[in-house]
């Protein structure tokens, strides 16, 4: 192995100009990537990780200035390289894969042409020769029918396919180093797993070095050799993966690992969030950057700035690193919850709900009737039956397009159903109006995903909560203010927050205000539509803990909707797995997380990247490719176009029956239970199948 690192970043400091003055985005950042090595840059929002990625290739805009430091690639400094020379490196020796494939691909150009451009530019190939190489590259990244694909436009393709195209374009000139900025964050878990597998395979084959930027420690575990942890623009810890993830030295890294919900057969009581929040850009703490949030901070930490120092094979920015208590991977279980789920009164009863969106009509030429008009409808919810009891949490898991959000909104009557019934508290509320609807709204509330959009930016927090009280709270004028403050306190916010505007609050705080707003009417049931998906990991833990506590204290029932199986597994008593508008598996959490499973659940479980190094790496079950279109089948089992365990014609024509492996646990599949009890990669005789 060559001694000289391929990429060496030394003392890099970058600042952005902003209306209020200059903001430091990166401070004295140093790290290295050796040939063929994969380094993960881990951080939450505001850590500056994306800035580093852009800085390496000189893609920062005029508002950013590199204050100091060097970026050395193969010994040459990229920060003051002339544009021509830098242009020969970009896309050629060092290339980049961006986060959001849909915004990254030029909507007006075919994908083949976009992938061919680096070849034409750097290797002087003619158009046809370049296209041949592109077809080969597309095949290598696992795209179906590559020769046809090269003439498609981005909007015709799925997110997973677009990301593969970006990867193909990045690798087409056979670079030494590839920078990936959150390449799988915008993708579904099952697709993410496939992309990660692809990246690992490509790395092996080409001895590729990677700079992998992510906030997801599970992904880091799966794919990288070394980890570099960033906090507020500083490197706080760095080291080999096994060391850093198993025995983290810096309090921040420990905090991150403690805040992540894990899937496992035993339930963990509480997550340990990191208290406080990121320092505001103009308000950087003196001394150690992390000290306001650090559980081990001493006086010295507030005055002395820290520097990075070596420690067993890595480096740490904390002078107390050796003294700190060893990090324990199992988060402490704080008692079992006091209520026993499954025995409460049935509260919500949904029967055969359907919601269809008409997409308009389209003229088609050709076919039996020469000119025909085709109706395109989307069956967002396609016959869903479920039940939630008082005090119970039903988790609803699904990927994008599964219909879970639509289901949530239909239940709350924000959207009218096409068919089916909703019973709440014994009454049929499917078409309720007037007073009955008003009562329903008081009993059933909803909290949403995006903290930036869940509160009216022009209203003070207190006024927002107050309005809900006025409409649904049945409270007198005198008690109103007191009740607002009470609600704020119940979600862990100080009463004086009532005077603040949303933009003065952090994401997690805004989400808590949304919860307070939902609680104003003393509901019995709350639909939580991806409540933590848009939050940083350390903040997710706070909100998840809060939701658990409120459930226990107020006997609330939840429908907890999320694409994140770990979060759902942490908080839910029962889980329902949804795909293409249909629920394919439903049952108590422990049952759903273990065999037998529906093939989709199995694939989901194998795809979730875990951080826990004590558990063995599960066999990956890959879903079959989505060819251009056809993600959800229209006849038979809706999942058959992607099912890795499809039997044959029966899956295409007949809807699958309901199987019941244990009490309260249902699976919809044509495969018999004894086959489902074995993983997809194993035959019933126990031999390994060729995958």
């Amino acid at each position: 192995m060559n001694d000289e690192p391929l990429l060496k970043v030394e003392g890099l400091s970058v600042a952005y100009a902003s209306p209020g003055g200059d903001v430091a985005a990166l401070q004295d950042v140093s790290f290295q990537v050796a040939k063929g090595e994969a380094l993960a840059l881990v951080g939450e929002s505001g850590s500056g990780k994306s800035t580093i990625a852009l800085a390496v290739l000189g893609l920062l805009g005029a508002e950013a200035t590199i204050r100091s430091g060097q970026i050395l690639y193969a010994g040459k400094d990229l920060t003051n390289m002339p544009a021509g020379e830098l242009g020969r490196i970009r896309g050629n020796r060092v290339s980049m894969v961006f986060q959001d494939p849909f915004g990254t691909l030029n909507p007006g150009m075919t994908v083949g042409r976009q992938a061919a451009e680096p070849l034409i530019r750097h290797q002087g190939l003619a158009r046809d020769a370049a296209m041949e190489r592109v077809v080969a590259a597309f095949a290598e990244v696992g795209l179906p029918r590559p020769a046809e694909l090269v003439t498609s436009y981005p909007h015709q393709l799925s997110g997973g396919m677009q990301q593969r195209i970006l990867i193909a374009a990045a690798l087409i000139c056979e670079p030494d180093l590839i920078i990936l900025d959150e390449p799988t964050t915008a993708l579904d878990v099952t697709i993410e797993a496939q992309i990660l597998d692809l990246l690992m395979e490509l790395r092996q084959r080409r001895n590729l070095a990677m700079l992998f930027i992510t906030h997801n420690l599970g992904v880091v575990n799966r794919i990288c050799d070394r980890v570099c942890v960033l906090y507020a623009g500083h490197v706080v810890e760095e080291g080999p993966k096994n060391l850093t993830l198993r025995r983290p030295r810096h309090p921040y890294t420990q905090g991150l690992l403690g805040a992540i919900p894990k899937i496992g057969p035993e339930r963990h009581g509480r997550l340990s969030p990191i208290p406080g929040h990121l320092p505001a850009p103009g308000n950087v703490p003196k001394g150690c950057i992390f000290n306001p949030r650090c559980a081990y901070a001493l006086d010295r930490c507030q005055t002395e700035p820290q520097s990075l120092r070596s420690m067993d094979g890595g480096s740490v920015r904390c002078w107390r690193a050796e003294d700190l208590p060893k990090f324990r991977h199992q988060a402490g279980v704080i008692g079992e919850p006091s209520r026993s789920p499954g025995t409460g009164v049935p509260l919500l009863d949904v029967k055969e709900m359907r919601k269809t969106y008409p997409l308009g009509r389209r003229i088609k030429l050709g076919g039996p009737r020469l000119v025909s008009i085709e109706r395109r409808d989307v069956n967002a919810v396609n016959g869903v039956t479920l039940r939630v009891r008082a005090g119970e949490v039903l988790g609803l898991v699904g990927e994008s397009g599964s219909g879970k959000s639509t289901l949530g909104r239909c239940i709350v009557r924000l959207v009218d159903t096409t068919d089916g019934q909703i019973h709440f508290d014994g009454k049929d509320v499917t078409h309720a109006r007037g007073d009955a609807l008003h009562k329903f709204r008081g009993d059933v509330q909803i909290i949403f995903q995006n903290p930036a959009s869940s509160l009216n930016p022009r209203r003070r927090v207190g006024a927002t909560i107050g309005r809900s009280l006025d409409l649904l709270g049945k409270i007198s004028k005198q008690d109103r203010q007191a009740r607002i403050e009470e609600l704020l306190q119940s979600v862990g916010l100080p009463p004086y927050f009532a005077e603040r505007f949303p933009h003065q609050l952090s994401g997690g705080e805004r989400q808590r205000v949304s919860i307070a707003r939902a609680l104003a009417s003393n509901p019995k049931f709350i639909v939580c539509d991806e409540p933590v998906s848009a939050l940083d990991v350390s903040v997710q833990a706070t909100v998840l803990n809060l939701l658990s506590d409120l459930r226990d204290k107020l006997q609330l029932a939840y429908l907890f909707i999320s694409h994140d199986l770990s979060a759902v597994a942490h908080i839910a008593d029962r889980i329902a797995v949804m795909y293409g508008g249909v629920i394919f598996e439903q049952g108590p959490t422990a049952a759903v997380l273990s065999r037998p499973n529906h093939p989709y659940t199995e694939a989901l479980l194998s795809a979730v990247p875990t951080v826990d190094l004590t558990l063995p790496e599960p066999e990956r079950i890959a879903l079959r490719d989505q060819s251009l279109g056809m993600k959800v089948a229209t006849t038979g089992c809706r999942f058959h176009t992607r099912c890795p365990r499809k039997i044959g014609a029966i899956c295409e024509t007949e809807a699958p029956p309901l199987l019941e492996p244990s009490e309260g646990h249902w699976i919809r599949c044509h495969l018999p239970l004894d086959v489902l009890a074995y993983p997809a990669t194993v035959t019933t005789d126990g031999d390994r199948k060729i995958a």
Binding site: R90, N92, F98, G103, N106, P107, G108, R121, L166, L365
Partner: protein, 314 residues
């Protein structure tokens, strides 16, 4: 794409029909009795009544409309009251003259407007950008008719280079025709060049800030390729829409500019007709102008659909 085209064509067709009804209806409210005008100053009430009957002025609205519309579809635009001639030939000559003006102006608008917009965006906040910005600022702030008059003052009265208006006789050479057309076209184009250039600049700046341009740079493509092959085609798409709206402004400008330069085009014909309450003329010329605008919009929609892969390939 087929669906899109079909829908647009049907839509435009319906709109034209509705427009014709509206135009007909509004002009029916005009004060002044058509029959009286025809009959002349010394007519007796009986004579007026006779003419009214002959023209079918007491028939119900839809009959009168039907008669008029049928005539239009067969190419008969009616007779001008004032000129006592069929309107058709008069309007087609006026249309030809206006077209000369409008097309010249439109070409200027497209080339200069888009060109200046793109160049300003590429060299954002540089001296060219500031200069163009000031120029376009004037363009959208100063009224058209004022420019026109100032041009006449400077180029015609003081410098004597160009004629003040009107149109040369038939058979005149290209240079003579050009000298009559140049000032009105520039006047017409001024405000629009300013508008299109601003829109294009905005659109181009957006494109240059976009993620896909960043991606193109990350591939190591030359700045030239990035600007002309990646940013510009996407930036021009909204410009097509803007140009369509500008055809509407152009038409408005035509009316004013032809009045300033006493240029015998469609706009001036309309103004004359309004001043003299020449009802059939008002109806016919309004309809023709509106139809041209609708067709221009349709063409713009089709072009947009053609160049936007999301619509073209579904």
């Amino acid at each position: 794409m087929l669906t899109y085209i079909a829908r647009r064509v049907v839509s435009i067709g319906t709109i034209l029909v509705v427009l014709s009804v509206l135009i007909f209806a509004i002009t029916q409210i005009l004060p002044g009795n058509v029959a009286r005008v025809i009959a002349g100053q010394f007519a007796t009430p009986d004579m007026v009544a006779a003419i009214e009957a002959k023209l079918g002025l007491h028939d119900p609205f839809y009959v009168q409309y039907g008669r008029w519309a049928a005539g239009i579809l067969q190419g008969d635009l009616g007779n001008s009251l004032i000129m006592e001639r069929p309107i058709g030939p008069v309007l087609s000559e006026a249309l030809y003259n206006s077209a000369l003006l409008a097309v010249t102006a439109f070409v200027m608008v497209t080339i200069l407007g888009i060109g200046l917009g793109v160049l300003s965006a590429i060299r954002q906040n540089g001296p060219l950008d500031h200069g163009v910005s000031m120029f376009t600022f004037l363009g959208i702030s100063v009224p058209e008719f004022f420019w026109g008059i100032v041009f006449i003052l400077v180029f015609s009265r003081w410098l004597g280079w160009l004629p003040a208006g009107g149109i040369p006789d038939a058979g005149a050479g290209f240079a003579t025709i050009a000298s009559h057309v140049i000032l009105p076209s520039i006047t017409l184009a001024f405000a629009l060049v300013a508008h299109v250039s601003r829109m294009t600049r905005s659109s181009m700046v957006d494109a240059l800030r976009s993620q896909y341009v960043r991606f193109a740079r990350a591939k190591g493509l030359s700045e030239q390729t990035v600007i002309w092959r990646h940013a510009l085609p996407n930036a021009l798409l909204p410009t097509i829409t803007v140009l369509a709206i500008d055809v509407g402004w152009l038409i408005g400008g035509v009316v004013v500019t032809e009045t300033v330069f006493a240029y015998p085009g469609l706009g001036r014909a309309l103004i004359f007709a309004i001043e003299r309450h020449d009802l059939p003329m008002i109806q016919a010329s309004t309809l023709v102008i509106a139809a041209i605008y609708c067709c221009a919009n349709l063409v713009a929609d089709l072009l947009y659909a053609f160049f936007n892969p999301k619509i073209r390939y579904g």
